[in-house]
Every structure is written in C-alpha cells, then in structure tokens.
Symmetry: C2
Subunit: 333 residues, 2 copies
Amino acid sequence: MPELRKDPVIGRWVIIATERARRPGVFFDSQKNIFDSGDCSFCHNQDPQILSYPQGDLAHRVKVVQSGTPLLLNDGKFHRKGHGLYDVVNDYGTHEVVIETPDHIANMADLSQDQIRLVFETYAIRYNELAKDPSFQYVIAYKNYGWAAGSRRIGHSRSQIIATSVNPFSAKQKLDGAKKYYNYRERCLYCDMIQQELEAKVRIIAETEHFVAMSPFAPRFVFEIWILPKKHDCDFAKGVVGQEHDLAKMMKIVLTKLKVGLDDPAYNYVIQSAPFRHGNTGTKWKTLADDYHWHIEVSPRLTRVAGFEKGSGFYISSIPPENVAEFLREVQI
Amino acid sequence: MPELRKDPVIGRWVIIATERARRPGVFFDSQKNIFDSGDCSFCHNQDPQILSYPQGDLAHRVKVVQSGTPLLLNDGKFHRKGHGLYDVVNDYGTHEVVIETPDHIANMADLSQDQIRLVFETYAIRYNELAKDPSFQYVIAYKNYGWAAGSRRIGHSRSQIIATSVNPFSAKQKLDGAKKYYNYRERCLYCDMIQQELEAKVRIIAETEHFVAMSPFAPRFVFEIWILPKKHDCDFAKGVVGQEHDLAKMMKIVLTKLKVGLDDPAYNYVIQSAPFRHGNTGTKWKTLADDYHWHIEVSPRLTRVAGFEKGSGFYISSIPPENVAEFLREVQI
C-alpha cells in the first residue's frame, strides 16, 4: 500500500510508491522512452469512463479514465498516523487521465481552439465533482508533454488530474505568500501584479479579453509563463465560468508560440487553484479567499537544474524574462 | 549587470544573469555537452589563485580560483531596491571553483580519502574567510558531477562555492522548520532524527565514528542520501573541526557505493550549513543556534521531475527509502 510521508524539516509531502517497489536494476530499465508504434492505447482506450464530455456526445471528444499506474487510490478511508517524529497518511486520493481528443495528435497546440475549450471544461467538471469528497484538500490538473517533461509515452495529447488528502507544499507556499501580502495591503497580490505588468508591458507575452500571459519577474525556469485571469477568483472551476472560450484561445496562442518559437519543446502546465475549504457540514465547501488568485503555470523544459539550485532553492535564469517575453511576442503564429 | 530578483509570491530569490543575456537561438547551442579532449583546462589551470591548499605545498593539491563564468561578483556595494511590488538586489557575491586534485580524475569517489579530506578542509577555510564579509548571509559549497547533474565539462573533479547577500530559499525553509520543532520540543530535530534512525536501522546506509549516512524518511529524489554529523553544530566550518578525516572516510564510502551500485551516475552534493548571523560589529558573527544542524545532501540524478511534482511540490518516490538503504548497504566496495 503506498503511503504519503511528510518531510519532518520543511513539511513537504512525498508519495512513497511502495506498490511499485522495485529492485534498482528493474527501475533503471523502466526509464526508457516508449514511442507509440501505431498501436496507441489512447486512440483505442476501452477503460471504464469516469466522464465522457460533452455528455451525450457519442464521439467521446474528451474522455476521463483512471490512470493505469495510479499514484493514489481511494480504496479505503483517509487516516493519519505518527511514526516517532515522522508523519504519515495513507494513499487516499485519485489519479485520472484526461484523453484530450479522439484523434492521434501529440501536442495540445495542434488541437482546435474548440477542442482545447472542451478539455478545460472537463477539468472544471472534475474539480467540482472531486470537491464533494470532504477528505480531499486539493485537486491539481496538469500536463507532461515530452520526455524531458516527465512523459514516457509520446503521441496522444492527454493530461492528468490528481486529488489529494493533504495540501501540497507549493500550493501552501503560494497561499502563505499571497495571504501575507493581502494581510498587509488588503489587496490581492496577483491583481496588483497584473496591473503593474499591464502598465510596464515588458513582460507581457499576450493579452486576450479575460487573460494575460506573462514572463514572471523572477522565473524559476527559462521561458516559464504565467497565464492569469484578469477577474479575481481563488478557484479555477468557479473563476473560469464564462471564460472557457477565451482561456482556450490564450492556451492555443501560448502553446503554439512555444511550439513554433522553440522547436516543439517538452513542457508542463499546471493549474494552480486554491485548496478546498470544507465547511462544517463536510460536503459543503466555500471558496472565500480574496487572498489567492487561480492561474496556470506553463514551463518548457529546456534546462537542467543543477546542484546549487536544488540545494539552495536559489534559481538561475540565464535569459532575462523581458527578453523571453519580447522573443515570444515576436513569434508569428 | 546581473541582478537578484525575489519572487513576490513565495519569496524565492532568482539570479537573473543579464550579463549572459542571449537570444534564445544562441542559448540552445550552448546546451551541448562538452567533453574534455585531452586538453583539460583544470589540469593546466593558470588562473590567479584564491587559495592553494595545503598552504606552502607546491604540489597545489587543492586549488580555489574564481569561476570563469561567475553567477555573482562582488565588484560593487551591496544594495537593495524596490520596483513596484517587486524586490531586487544587485549581484553582490562570489562564485569560486575548487579544483579538487592536480590529477585528471573525474569522480571524487576515485580520489584518495586523504585528498577528499583536503577538499573539505578547503571548504572550511573558505567558509571562515567569506564569513568575514558582513554583506554575506550565506555560503554554499556544492558539486555537480555529470551532465544530468548540471555539469557541462566532464573529466576533472571539482566543486563550487557561492557566497550570497541574501538567504537562499531552501535554507530558509529548513531553518524555519528546524526552529519550529526546537521551539516546541526544546531539542534539535536532526539530533532526534539521528537517534530514531540509529534505533530503527532500516534507513541507515553507513555509520562511521562521527557521521551517519541515511536515506531520508520522505526523500525528494530517488537515492537521495543525507550525511549527518552525530555532534550537534549548526555551522559546517566550526562543526567539522577534528572530524575532517572521518568525514572524508564517509564521503568516500557513500560516493563509491553510488558509483559501484548505480553504474557511475550523475550526482550533486550540497553542504547545508546555517547562514551567518552577523553581530552588531559587522565583521563579528555568532553561531549560536541550537536549532539547526549542518549536514550534506547527496542526490544522484536518476529521474526527471514531472509537471505534477514541479507544480505541487508533492514529490513521488518510486522506491521506498528502506529499499534504497538496504540496496546501498549491500553494495560491496
């Protein structure tokens, strides 16, 4: 049974995949890249569906299934336990795969804007559904595209949704930081940042009716991009309502600029949304929180992270974000 | 002029290397790996020496020089400034390279135990020297071995020392976590952990007179190893005095086990020491701090970090640390 363990120093949760326990020799073999050889398991997926969207559409334009190699499973009851000075919880959670198109298309950049919209609408439906489980604290939807981004099978556009019973470390850091700013200024940090960036213009990559794509002022990775909704909301599934079409437009712009400008790089994106704040009734949850602002982080995987950065958390950006934004603004798509 | 920028949300400092600013096209070319072709620049290094150690030994057994591509430079005065809601400091700092041997040997595992001792003694001398600058808050000594660990030139064993005017993010996290534990328990978290691990035995890889090497309970990376001194000290350069010989013995054991057991993998190590706590006199500094415990983190680079992990800070360990420790205990060296 896998378990979640908490680093006793900084409080980061780690999934210890004991189910997948292997001798190191076996582990190394599994690192090899797998290329689809015409027989794509996502084209012909027959797994039980968690969701087919749009509902009633027999074309199965977007399909959600359980991951074949799930990191978390909700086949028990959530419980915490101690182990000397260490903390452990069981593997209560879900791990779903979103098959983004019935067609064998590798990169989301090559999907139609309409199809991309369906994918983000699917995420929102799953967020709202998973929020009903009072044991879940957090849901994260993300994509690994290409080997360097952590994907082993290349060929069919898909993404993943994980629900966890603990609050992931980065989410906690972001929430804490945004809260400190809010407590001091009584304004949302992200709203202020969007205003400052739209005035300065130098780090803006693209702007649509409802969204801004920018290079962050202090990026962790070269070509890191933040896509921020102009309208304040801490919660992705709530905030995106009515803006799905415009978000799909922005995603298509950003992903196509990356593909064209950087020669089809590996990339990740992650939706950063507030954790569920369950009320006393258990299944009720509130999205108060003037202090957090949902957004999407897109990270092409172009560089390796060296010892200094890993050890110090002190990242190095070899291209200033202003140059990155200028370069991407100029990429013709 | 490079500058240091602070992420406005979580407070992570990032070095923006504007001096190295490149058009993206140029940037990609520079990613290629460089193999030494007989003409090793470290074998024949003629750069001005910051330190040659042991002093007076004409064989130059260990040499410290300034980095040819420094990330930080102390050619001005340290200053902070604001930029709307953002924070910036200039690039005040140092970036030194430690050439660990006059011989063309690639992996520190293949140096003699005596030579490894000289390297760690060299680090300690530089820590103590750099601590005299009241603008420096933190010094980090680290090694990138192999391409996947962030090293581009392979062939001659060396490591790096960086001094910074701000407190790196990971150091801050570790200090905060250890302090919380200390405030609650009135004991050092690391001392308690060493005791618990020595009793449980399952995550211990090796033990010497003064040091313990273990797989951490909740590792961030597969095969991550922590080397902890049994004697409490927050400061590496102070704590290691009289234990240099034993530390070299432990490093030789751990690095050789990695080389033999994992087929010469790329790896990083980082010395985690407390930041300088400068007193009022400027150049005086104190190493009080019962709450922090210096140590070394060794990370073989075997896996990629995927989108979920990057986005959530929620890491996945595909081999339980107990299996890792057992495997490494059994590697014959």
